[in-house]
Amino acid sequence: MIHALLLVALVATQDTSAGKAVYTKWCAGCHGDNGAGDGAGAKHMIPPPRDFTGAIYQIRSTPSGQLPTDADLMRSIDEGLFGTAMPGWKTRLSDRQRRDVLAYIKTFSTFFADTTQRPQPIKFGSAPGGGSGAEALKVGRQFYDSIGCRKCHGDLGRGDGPSAPTLKDDAGHPIFAADLHENWRFNGGGTVEDIYHRLRTGLDGTPMPSFSDLLENKFLTDEQLWRVAQYVRSLSPAEAPVVRDVIHAPLLVKALPHSPDDSAWTAVDASWFPLVGQVIRKDRWFAPAVSGVWVKAVHTADSIALRVVWDDRSQSPDSAWLGHLGRVLKTLDSDDSTPEQPALWPDQLAVQFPVSIPTGMERPYFLMGSPNGPVYQWRWSSSSRTTAVAGLARGIDRFDPLAAAGVAAQAVYDHGQWRVVFTRGLASSDTASQLPFRTGRAIPVAFFAWDGSNGEHGTRMGISTWYFLALDEPVPARVFISPVLAMVLTLGLGMLVVWRAQQKTSYRRQQ
């Protein structure tokens, strides 16, 4: 009996120490040795890592204010928190390791030891059918407005509502209202069920409240709340965007679309390119606000138009966002010894090409070239939104504008989204520095974006790697004529053979 007890005690202590070992190796770097969310990496991320000492968790199946269940915690460990620095650990740690570390994380807060704090999961129903139908979406939209989602998430759901600039978490860190068009970045998952669960539980520690009380107050029915979730889901693409390497620019026979909202763009496929923080050169930037760009391109016989669209909650410079900007600079560690003061920076975008189409595999350094290997860039800024500057970058901190720019731009800011069209002639008078565009060739292209209201300027930006732009070749007329000619010829020959055969048959009969 005593042996059994000893064994139980031993197993229990082993669990904690095993969990601690896993924690120290894999988690403490961000979450801190004492679980306070203050590890070495913490000052490089927004949102910051979870502080386990308060036992406040966003992703739960329990009502607001309650502890999460073990299953809730395990889900966050397994899957990670999308759109944040927290990765999923399911494939990296064994079942045993993950269970051990879960048990250890709970020791950071006395709430888990308090037997009066038993989490009671909400009994969620299932989504009513017809969720993607027009009628359901209309109901969803109606309640999206009436329960006030737009206050933070904005009229079109891009996280640009009137209260968005003021949002902060419990610890005073800046926090964005989710861009509801990017469900693959929702912290707790992007399915209709995930969204509905978050509406019921709220995301504790963040400004997102629970809407469960509305059901009890009969403000709306459970079905109507599901419709809100289905409406929110409908704002994002059916599938998360897949990165394709090549932007195809079809040839247009009509006029080049200079305006971002020209109807000619609707027929063109969009390519999505993710952006990440520029963490290579100082000052590094770990919290880019622009998660990616949607790109379309077309060309005519003599010109090219490139349309870049990206979600940005703020039309910078905007003094309403200065408070947010101050919180960002306070939360993140700067490479500079003196912390930067908030200022009214504009939004910016850069499109980068090589100076000439490379003949081999080698391309210039993707991060804005090098002193001896410049890259050709188009730069646009929200402070002079209808112009663009062409120039040569020779490294991240050197940009020399070219006198004869030749590139034009038009821009629209609409409910949390920038849409910018760059246009230029295909040919170039200055072939030494300005890339001549040619059809049928893979032209390297890369993108850079700055959200001024998020503190981004200079080297603090979101960057992509090299991708390709391909101007589809005009199809020569013979491609269409040859098959018709061949068909006519074949038909004619066939008929000749048949006619000849018939001639012979009638000749024999006569004989």
């Binding site: 329960i147 006030g148 933070c152 009137p162 209260s163 419990d170 709220g202 504790d204």
Partner: protein, 257 residues
């Protein structure tokens, strides 16, 4: 909330305190203490009253831009301001939470009142702005504005919560399970909306009024540490000894900054 009087005096105190001044109250055998209902006891007990002032120049309360919420804005004749420092005549300081920090004998329990504390969201501001509540006492949060408010409690000793009230007439009741000074309440839709509540295990707390005065009554004899908390000016403490049904003063002067 100002001047809240909850008369809770255990017979044990009256018996023990008459002979004690050295803090050895705990020597009384617990078995001798009957579970006396608070209401049966007379209002007898000591009272602490005082005035709260500040020196220096009070910082200006920032104006609130309510242009996003026309229905809230319409409730004010002129531009409303935040209530960070509410000063009365002669530098009197309102909205100071004053409570007995220590001195109430351990083991003495006080039942939570059945009546809830009401927190009203009206004109996109909280009423009251600073208040006290007992552990286990209901906090009834109501919305008098036809707009979305969320009510987020930021707490450490208590579980935090964040609930929403998108229309006028909605009510939610919450309770707090542990003493905590202070729990912050905020609305994230309206970043200027803030309220502070002190959660106490006993009824010995008050909030200073517009004239800076407060009153804590029904105190059993003993030596108490009184703390005064202000959202901008910090905390101050004083020690007060109550020997019977007397009224003792405790004045606090904060320094504006």
């Amino acid at each position: 909330m100002n001047g809240r009087i909850l008369s809770v005096v255990g017979g044990m105190f009256l018996l023990t305190v008459c002979s004690k001044g050295d803090g050895s109250i705990h020597a009384a055998p617990p078995a001798a203490e009957p579970p006396t209902p608070a209401a049966d006891v007379s209002v007898a007990g000591g009272t602490i009253t005082g005035k709260i002032k500040f020196t220096g120049v009070a910082p200006k309360n920032p104006a609130i831009d309510m242009s996003e919420e026309a229905t809230c804005k319409a409730k004010y004749p002129s531009t409303p301001t935040e209530e960070n420092v509410v000063a009365g005549a002669a530098n009197a300081l309102a909205n100071v939470f004053v409570y007995v920090k220590s001195g109430v004998p351990a083991g003495q329990t006080f039942p939570a009142p059945a009546t809830p504390v009401v927190l009203d969201q009206n004109g996109c501001r909280y009423h009251p702005h600073v208040f006290g509540i007992m552990v286990g006492q209901g906090l009834e949060i109501q919305n008098s504005d036809p707009v979305l408010h969320n009510i987020k409690a930021i707490a450490k000793a208590n579980r935090p919560f964040n609930v929403s009230q998108p229309s006028a007439g909605m009510k939610t009741t919450r309770t707090f399970s542990a003493p905590e000074v202070m729990v912050n309440l905020e609305c994230n839709v309206h970043g200027w909306m803030k309220a502070f509540l002190g959660v106490r295990p006993d009824p010995f707390f008050a909030v200073s009024g517009a004239d800076g005065s407060f009153k804590i009554a029904g105190l059993p004899p003993g030596t108490y540490t009184i703390e005064a908390w202000h959202e901008k000016f910090g905390t101050q403490t004083a020690t007060v000894t109550i020997a019977g049904t007397e009224t003792k003063p405790a004045n606090f002067t904060f320094t504006a900054h």
